[in-house]
Amino acid sequence: MVDPITVNTNAGETLLRFRDDVVHDEPAVTLDAFLGQTNATAVRLEAGDDARELLPHLGQIALVEISFPTFRDGRGYSAARILREAGFEGELRAAGDVLVDQIPHMRRCGFDSFAPEKPVDAATLTKLLALYPQPYQKAADARVPVWKLRHG
Amino acid sequence: MKLLTGNDLSTGDVVWWTGRDWSRHVEDAVDVGGQGEAILRAEEGARRVNVPYLIDAEATEQGPRPAHIKDRIRALGPTVRPDLTLKPADADAGAWVI
């Protein structure tokens, strides 16, 4: 999906979603709560939480929300890739201090939903997402790296 | 005295608050007294200056002289390239910095 769908949730959040399934409306629980009460289907990871602790439970999780306390804190990018590399196919949401210029990188790390604290400019985002014709690296998205284009 | 300084957002030039506007010349700077923070916020918000901050300075006959060497170098230019300073013709300008 190239352009996001804007969704207003019951909780009053504005979500930018790059998936067209129904928004999961169960509130996300903390990692500790999830590990103690294993029937939850939505989890919120704080920046310092270890995403690998979720790996045994991915089959039951529909939504993982990863927190960005400040836009400078890049731990969530690794958390997202770890979940995608392990095969997680549910919604992966970046929440908090998420800036428009960061969303293309976050997309590459596997995020497909965004709950930015401050609204992002839709026109800027559309432009940024279409800017780079191809990436240099393989990441968690489907984009084909340059070396693959060169060598097949 | 207290001076308000920063850089021009677009050109990056070092600028000094003159009471009404911004000047590249520290000689034009005025004592902002206790008003510094308020002016700073208003001017930065209006993008008439970038990264402004308040400094201490001494009033001299030649005009305000910033208390710290860093701001005196900002006011004049690099001491190792007198030709690129604001006073290329003044052989003694470097002495004002040190």
Partner: protein
Amino acid sequence: MYRYDEYDQSIVDARVEEFRDQVERRLSGALTEDQFKPLRLMNGLYLQLHAYMLRVAVPYGTLDSRQMRMLGHIARKYDRGYGHFTTRQNIQYNWIKLADAPDILAELATVQMHAIQTSGNCIRNISSDQFAGAAADEVADPRPWAELLRQWSTFHPEFTYLPRKFKIAVIAADEDRAAMRLHDIGIQLLERDGVLGAKIFVGGGMGRTPMIAHEVKDFITADHLMSYLEACLRVYNRYGRRDNIYKARIKILLHEIGVDAYRDQVEAEFAAIRDLGIDPPLAELARITAMFAGPDFASDAPDSVDRSDPDFAVWLDQNVAAHKQPGHAIVTISLKPIGGIPGDASADQIDLMADLAERYGHDELRVTHAQNIVLPHVRKADLYAIWTALRDARLAEANLDLISDIIACPGLDYCSLANARSIPLAQKIGERFAGRQRELGELKLKISGCINACGHHHAGHIGILGVDKKGTENYQLLLGGSGAEDVSLGKITGPGFDEDGVVDAIERVTDRYVALREADERFLDTYRRVGMQPFKEAIYG
């Protein structure tokens, strides 16, 4: 040399457009300075003492004459007629206007250059050996590996908001001309059972807590280099400290958890990702390597040089190094004229060096981490003509690796982080020792104007650190550092000095060295043999 294909070019062109848009958003107020700062830094744009400063990447220090001329053109058109070559093989311009920055990047892109990731908390420009491809002692040219790393690290989506900046150097010889073990990751290529691979060192760096990198991986082959490095970076991105900017470099993580625990975590991560298809095929390294095949050297180039001009002979002995090809040589052009500004070159000098590379040097130039320029492939028969042209442009100082070949950061004359000026001190030291520097032999002197150590003072045989002592400039003296294969960190002699005082102290140190020197010991060798005490006595009485 590496040449962009349409993919590389389209990525660099897109970056120009992205940055043009970011600058417009900043000027219009859509971005605050706090939001814009990391974006501009990731394109090498700082706000310094007098203006914006733009740092342009010279990937692994290699460029051709067309690119070099572009650097001169930018100095003339957008700056004030000069540029400053840096310790990470880049060039920076001191007088840039924000509104001009996108146009400068657009001009750079026309010659396959950019300012991508020359600052910011991301993977910086990959540095390498300035003699790569020309040195007699290398097992391979390290630059194809560096180019592979350049592509991998460019806009790496996971590692753009690291805890702190991240510097990588690649070498392929036992002699370390790139301060490899003082990088966050140092890579040494070596051959094992006929296969080229890499030894990986992690956790080196200077700054306020200098450390020497530890060996973390004995040998990794090219087919898994990227996934291994992703593992190294991911462990750092997840667990590097973010609570204190001064403890955020990877060296602190290794120091706190220990190299063995770090290695174990990297191995676990590597095991999880090594088969995910992250690594480019070996054909990609082969494609890049073919472009570094090197020039067709004349096989009949005469090996003898006419030394009858004594000034030329001095330069020949000091600034010209052995080339792997008979009849050829490697020339280092000193950007350290006595009394000059270390690393600075005027637009005219830049053009002249480009001309010499084109005419005599197979169109190649290198930037060294010691802030000099190299012509890596010249015929010995052309050395005299090259020297004559350099001399006329004030570029023939015969001082490579001598006490006046000083690494100095811009210091308080230009830098908003500095506490003291570095350049005037370098000028005074050059003037004081010009007459006896050859007698003192190899003596690497490095000056930083603040604790961030951009002037590599920890790695100087003699190092100087400028500090702010109650509003006045004060200089601490260090002895015994080295950034080469015999890497070590300098130790502070004792109380600091004012500007003239530190020059006097260096003179007492060098006098004592001459008195203690055995046979052909370098200063560093004597220091290591006798220790700090005799020098302390000489300085402080």
